[in-house]
Symmetry: C3
Subunit: 206 residues, 3 copies
């Protein structure tokens, strides 16, 4: 993986780790519980992707950088929680950044492993949404991916941009930045302006 992609992966790790640690602090976990939640949120999407493409052992477990980033983010959130919360909706914003960066880096890694464009789009989406799903299941709440406005759609769009760029020969940094920007923008507008898809109106269930 080249340096630019690795940088995106590290920033995504840090962003998801902060979102996980913030949820942990709000649930009054102890210090190590906060670190575990930060690490799980930050790495689950990438571990899932690596398992699914057969890249074992996953990078998140063999490279110490991921754990170090998650610990720094977790410690900062634990001891400077007021500062993190002063940002408006920190969980949602850092989560959106992690989602965007993992969706593009996941799609790119899947292409590098020779997967088809179709599979690369799906794997990019899964890499993006995996971390948030793990975080929410661990604190026993329904994952944000099923509730939030334009969540999986945004990850799908980011992965599709990267795969389309690859097909059309666009230089990779361009499509990575465009895809991540599109995903973050969609999530930001959805959070800020309540953009959303039609919601199910259940018929009277038995």
């Amino acid at each position: 993986m080249d340096t630019f992609l690795l940088a995106l992966d590290f920033i995504g790790t840090f962003a998801f780790a902060i979102s996980g640690a913030t949820i942990g602090v709000r649930h009054r976990l102890d210090l190590f519980g906060v670190l575990v939640l930060a690490f799980a949120t930050a790495t689950f999407g990438g571990i899932l992707r690596d398992l699914l493409i057969g890249a074992v052992p996953p990078a998140a477990l063999t490279t110490w950088t991921y754990l170090a980033l998650a610990c720094v983010a977790g410690l900062a959130t634990f001891y400077r929680h007021a500062l993190v919360e002063r940002l408006r909706n920190p969980v949602q914003l850092f989560d959106a950044a992690g989602l965007a960066l993992f969706a593009v880096s996941g799609a790119s890694k899947a292409l590098a492993f020779g997967l088809s464009p179709f599979a690369a789009v799906l794997l990019g989406m899964l890499s993006g949404i995996g971390g948030g799903i793990a975080r929410d299941i661990l604190v026993a709440r329904t994952p944000v991916v099923l509730q939030a406005d334009l969540y999986a759609v945004a990850a799908l769009a980011a992965a599709a941009v990267v795969v389309a760029g690859h097909q059309w020969g666009v230089p990779e940094p361009w499509s990575l930045v465009t895809g991540a920007g599109l995903c973050f923008g969609l999530r930001y507008m959805a959070i800020r302006h309540g953009w959303r898809l039609p919601v199910a109106r259940p018929h009277d269930a038995p």
Copy 2:
């Protein structure tokens, strides 16, 4: 995988996708959330099986048919929910069909990958129960496999029939149909007539 087995896999995918989408509509998810839940329910059992036998990337992520089936089932359930609910207990019935079809196709695929009869029975059961577990965990309720009458037992029986048929040289379509019929029948009788195993009577816990 031969055509007959593939057909069973596709029907199971469609059945599980409807059961997942119905749960999604009842929980008032948005359109994409319903599709995500339909896809997760429909493919998790197969993805789990493929991970466990080392068949990566899993078929559900490389073949577009699975996603297409899940989307058709999800859209139909989203826009025609009244129709789906008019069937009696649609979640349970479609879930029973998915359970039966995945248990037999899972056991058969495990045998084709050279696993032992013992492992093939276990993997068939896991393929069957995986989708329902993913669906229920995603909406934060206790998985039906732990509560419902004769649920894992039925999947185990279906997988055992397939493996026994393989050992005794019975033509595969016969044992696949017999196993799936047995599993669906057991679940149907359990739902209809309340067949069940003894329930734990906890001693007064501290």
Copy 3:
């Protein structure tokens, strides 16, 4: 894997299976649900480890001993629940034993597969905490690893002792027993005397 390590693995399987079955009985599951929960608790950590190091199909699915141990533990707990509960805090004690034994055997297996010391410590911790996470998610409660005092820390310490012993050439049985004893001791003191890490004090969240 040599005999001593295998014995530790079997004892850990049995201990985790009893902790899972006890939770199942308390939640009034039926007989098969209790067995499923016992098997999932007993094997999920090891299956996770084997998936992550690429040792597929996982030993827990190809060797009948794991299933047999889980079934014996599950049946004993189901039909002799009063006896199990008479032990003080049986879930916590058997869980601590399983945690200790899986953390050391997981770290040792990761080293045997040629992973780096860093990855082996992480994988040992994951093998230890995986079973309890699966058990708690299946009954829809927040995993004990995020709440309990010194839980993941204890697993981490055990795995670190094994890896350090391997680096320094200590005979393996010694480091396995020391690591497991340290982990069990830490958990016991934490349960008995309320040893714990600092707890997050969330700033007023929006």
